[in-house]
């Protein structure tokens, strides 16, 4: 699917990260990160494995605490708000995990109902079913509603994982390696789905990947993470117009369709 012109509101920051540091023991993963995400924008964070890309979005979702710096999400400093405030904030953030993270002991329907049941207790069974069917329809997998996660393919699991986040109608989507471990055709379908989610639900997204095809297809802006810092930001073409050998080699080892 071709990317359409979208309305990115450059006056409205939904995520603002300033001078972010994070270490694990002596391993200094993030060393002074600055990043802004605007309303309606898809930002791709690109980098090799182990450079701290996933750590970055886990900090944004409040799963990890930063050592230093400010992470402002929808007007909330995630390091300073209370657990209850963080829970309220998380309702507006969708997180698509690398492993899909579907609950094995629940069917697809129960997986999708789970966040609704936990957070919207006044919903009737009819409204629940309606919400589940709408979310599944959005990812094109209505027929899997009564299947178990173990019966789904990798691509289907990713889609259901995205549907589970969409059901809460988030303002921000965080995708952790959305195409990892998928074949090229399924990867393309996931890329299309990410763009479709952005257009249909007007979400702002951070997409973590080392797949340049995914980065090119989904990103309005790319930020390349190397050695714990962003070394280059811009559109796909701007980023890879660089003479930086590290970026060139990264480009050369990826297959661009």
């Amino acid at each position: 699917m071709e990317k359409k012109n979208k309305h990115i509101d450059r006056t409205k920051k939904v995520i603002s990260i300033h001078d972010l540091y994070k270490s694990f023991g002596t391993n200094h993963v993030l060393r002074g990160i600055d990043l802004d995400l605007y309303q309606g924008e898809n930002v791709v964070v690109l980098g090799r494995s182990g450079t701290g890309k996933s750590v970055l979005i886990k900090i944004i979702a409040g799963l990890l605490k930063p050592d230093k710096g400010v992470v402002n999400v929808l007007g909330n400093d995630v390091a300073k708000i209370s657990y209850r405030e963080l829970e309220q904030l998380r309702l507006r953030i969708g997180f698509s995990f690398q492993s899909s993270a579907l609950y094995d002991s629940m069917t697809v329907r129960e997986n999708l109902e789970f966040p609704l049941l936990r957070n919207s207790k006044q919903l009737s069974q009819g409204q629940l079913t309606q919400a589940v069917e709408t979310a599944l329809e959005a990812v094109g997998l209505s027929q899997t509603i009564d299947q178990w996660p173990a019966e789904l393919s990798g691509g289907q699991r990713k889609r259901i994982g995205i549907a589970r986040t969409l059901i809460m109608q988030p303002a921000i989507m965080l995708y952790d390696e959305p195409t990892a471990g998928l074949d090229p055709i399924t990867s393309m379908e996931i890329n299309d789905l990410i763009n479709e989610v952005q257009e249909r639900f007007n979400t702002s997204s951070i997409i973590i990947t080392h797949d340049l095809t995914c980065a090119k297809a989904t990103g309005d802006r790319l930020a390349v993470l190397l050695d714990g810092r962003f070394v280059r930001e811009g559109t796909f073409e701007e980023v890879f117009a660089s003479d930086d050998e590290r970026l060139k080699s990264f480009y050369d080892y990826n297959f661009i369709t």
Partner: protein, 266 residues
């Protein structure tokens, strides 16, 4: 922030001893987090009932078989010693004391540690390494309350009930054996058996079972919730849950028996 490489770590004792004490401290923190979360909403009643069913009802076949066989075997093994003194009429008393005071709580605890403890460790461990616990957290659900508090409460409630059930089954097994050898009637067996035990014996068994249930739940949850290193870690969590729970059960057994004996002294 200084990015200088830190000096190599110095240990207080040795690496392994330090790791042991760190683990003990972390386990203590985990227990205090459990009690801190216990009385805070949401209370997750549905999940507690679901876990109680899963832990209690699904353990019944194993408990039934083990209880009945324990009663028969213990009676058969005790008979020769008593018959040497012509005291086989004491069998109901001996068997009842053994079952109520020691066998029922201990065997139930050990069996539940093996079946339920390993299951909890493996289930939570698998959820941890496949990011399902993180997924629960980002969907604004407190995973500690939903996964840990419910399971620990379920084991704490269900192990005493399973112990009671096992004691009854073991008594039944003992009666079958006594009746087939000595033609003792059921009423006579029960009268002789219960004449020799006191309420203190029953209380102490319930206290032990509550402690064992709590231990099985909290150890399984602690091991599973802190699993690292992928599928290998899941296996280790399941295994450690059983070993650690059994070890603690024996320690608790010794302590409770000692305390109860102080009360028993004239």
């Amino acid at each position: 922030m200084s990015l200088k490489q830190k000096q190599p770590r110095r240990y207080i004792f040795t690496g392994k001893l330090d790791a042991f004490f760190t683990d003990v401290y972390a386990f203590g923190q985990f227990i205090s987090r459990f009690f801190g979360s216990l009385f805070l909403p949401p209370y997750e009643f549905k999940e507690i009932v679901r876990q109680s069913y899963s832990i209690g009802v699904k353990s019944l076949p194993l408990i039934t078989l083990t209880g009945f066989i324990t009663g028969i075997v213990f009676t058969k093994q005790s008979r020769p010693s008593l018959s040497d003194f012509g005291a086989t009429s004491w069998l109901p008393s001996l068997v009842t004391i053994a079952i109520v005071r020691a066998l029922a709580p201990l065997v139930t605890g050990l069996i539940t540690a093996g079946k339920v403890g390993s299951n909890i460790g493996a289930e939570l461990g698998s959820m941890k390494v496949t990011e399902q616990i993180d997924a629960m957290e980002v969907s604004a659900t407190n995973p500690f309350k939903f996964l840990v508090v419910t399971r620990v409460l379920a084991t704490t409630f269900m192990v005493p009930l399973l112990m009671l059930y096992m004691a009854l089954l073991a008594m039944l097994g003992a009666f079958v054996n006594v009746h087939s050898n000595e033609q003792t009637s059921f009423v006579s067996f029960i009268e002789n058996g219960f004449h020799s035990i006191s309420f203190l014996d029953i209380y102490s068994s319930f206290i032990k079972s509550i402690l064992f249930g709590f231990t099985i739940g909290i150890v399984g949850c602690y091991q599973g919730y802190n699993t690292t290193q992928g599928t290998q870690g899941v296996g280790r969590a399941a295994n450690t849950s059983v070993v650690m729970a059994m070890f603690l059960i024996f320690i608790e057994e010794i302590i409770v028996v000692q305390i109860i004996n102080w009360f028993r002294m004239p």
